[in-house]
């Protein structure tokens, strides 16, 4: 691709940036503090952390403020910042079974092991715009739940797929004893290209742009491929996962703290000729923060990719087209000067038509243009 090197105009560029800074930073409204953003815009913050692939609420909040609320731009800022950071450690493998749940729903079963915990959600209530909303001192309403049912062990419920395993209704894809897991693909070091291991696809989806992932999932439901069907969600969770690293002096793991994540299991009814029709298989989704839509789309696409990814190009779509930085970066670059490339296109058109009004010559050669009579 050849772009015109735009020269000059530096003063105008600086003036344009100054307009952004000035209008944002000197607006008469009270300054939006980092704490306000993390406290009141938590879902936007979580989305930026996930798509920016850097877990730190304050960094994401500052990026959102600088980007004037543009999630994609904030993600860009966070990802650029992340790329400057040294890697201090790789964590011990996180076991999602250790999640301390803040919310846990099992759509596939009315009474699973452990509670159906709605947590912080408005999923089951009507949402009506409230333009007079403000701090009202509201607190959690105590309901009539039997206090005997409140057991801290309920914060670590057994996952639904384990129930399926026990019932021998789930394909067992776990490695055999003694088989070491593959080293996970590291997207921050190498770009993933098909064919890629599942770890690359899961990592790509974990940091994919949420809307893009949902769009890809929806296309897989209703689009021409139609490779997702009969999927039921086993688990939808939001909770805290312990993050551990190895202590350099003792060689033993220590828990640095918790990160919040959303998790989903998508149960697929196997019906292919080479598949075990007597069992289900399960797709898996996990992403930073509270972003259930993304985790659900990810779990559905994981199982779809495992079943059909090679055949219908889904793997390629997930690896190469769902990253918001890539797609939006490419889209936005179209706004940059393209004078040279477009001028060459004009030149080609003129050449095709014959220089200086050779249109009649072309018309003679194509007396029945495609589409004119069809």
């Amino acid at each position: 691709m050849g772009y015109s090197g735009a020269r000059g105009g530096l003063d105008a560029i600086l003036a344009a940036e100054s307009l952004v800074r000035g209008a944002r930073n000197q607006d008469p409204a009270p300054w939006l503090t980092t704490e306000q953003i993390t406290g009141r815009m938590r879902l936007a913050v979580d989305r930026v952390m996930g798509e920016g692939s850097l877990y730190h609420e304050e960094t994401a909040a500052d990026a959102l403020r600088q980007a004037e609320g543009d999630v994609i731009e904030a993600t860009h800022l966070v990802r650029a910042h992340q790329s400057t950071l040294p890697r201090l450690a790789v964590s011990e493998p996180i076991d999602p079974d250790e999640m301390v749940v803040l919310r846990r729903i099992v759509p596939a079963h009315r009474t699973p092991d452990g509670p159906q915990l709605l947590g912080r959600t408005s999923d089951y209530t009507g949402r009506i715009l409230d333009r007079n909303a403000g701090p009202d001192g509201s607190t959690v309403t105590e309901n009539e739940v039997d206090r005997a049912e409140r057991d801290l062990s309920q914060r670590h419920p057994r996952r639904f797929s384990e129930m399926l395993r026990e019932m021998d209704l789930m394909v067992d894809s776990r490695p055999v004893d003694g088989q070491l897991p593959e080293s996970p693909f590291d997207l921050s070091r190498h770009p993933a290209r098909p064919p890629a291991p599942r770890s690359a696809i899961l990592a790509s989806m974990a940091r994919a742009e949420t809307g893009s992932l949902i769009g890809t999932w929806y296309r897989s439901i209703l689009g021409p491929e139609g490779n997702i069907h009969e999927v039921t969600l086993g688990e939808v969770r939001h909770g805290r996962l312990p993050l551990r690293v190895t202590h350099p002096h003792t060689g033993k793991p220590l828990q640095l703290g918790y990160i919040r994540a959303s998790e989903c299991e998508a149960i697929e009814d196997l019906d292919g000729p080479d598949e075990d029709r007597g069992r289900f298989d399960v797709g898996y989704g996990l992403c930073f923060g509270h972003n259930e839509r993304k985790a659900i789309a990810m779990a559905n696409l994981d199982i779809a990719c495992r079943r059909f990814g090679d055949a219908d190009g889904l793997e390629q779509v997930l690896l190469l087209t769902t990253d918001g930085l890539d797609s939006c970066g490419f889209l936005e670059h179209l706004k940059l000067p393209h004078y040279v490339t477009f001028r060459s296109m004009i030149d080609r058109k003129r050449a095709v038509r014959g220089v200086d009004g050779g249109i009649d010559e072309i018309a003679e050669r194509h007396t029945e243009p495609i589409g004119r009579t069809c």
């Binding site: 877990y55 709605l118 947590g119 739940v145 797929s161 996970p184």
Partner: protein, 145 residues
Amino acid sequence: MIAHEYSRERVAELLADAPEDELVDLADACLADGIELAVLTAPEVGSVAAQVREPIAHDHFFLGDVLACRAEVSLGGVRGWAMRLGDNRSATLAAAICDAEIVAERPQAVRVLELCARVEEIRRLAEADEWAQLAPTIVQFEELT
């Protein structure tokens, strides 16, 4: 020898969650007797790559990076180390000094251990409070017929 129930890892974990002002005050107290301090690794903000072992096929994958800060010191020849989520450099350096104070069994070690105990208690209360707010949202869906 100071008897306590905390492992080195547990101390690091609790100090990683301690409030900055208490850590810094305690680190200052540790240094007040003039003990020689060498900063082996100045507080460095970077990332920890969060590796997950997913529960379905036990494949490992990278979820993303987590912002963290680490530091290492030598306190009178005894090394102390700390890592903390986020980018708080002063709290991380103070935690490394407090860690070394315990390893060296120096005079302020007891206060550091008391801080660890307070952090544990704060965590326990916070979790109980959180659960008290969440538990009322446990639902029994009705069977649809």
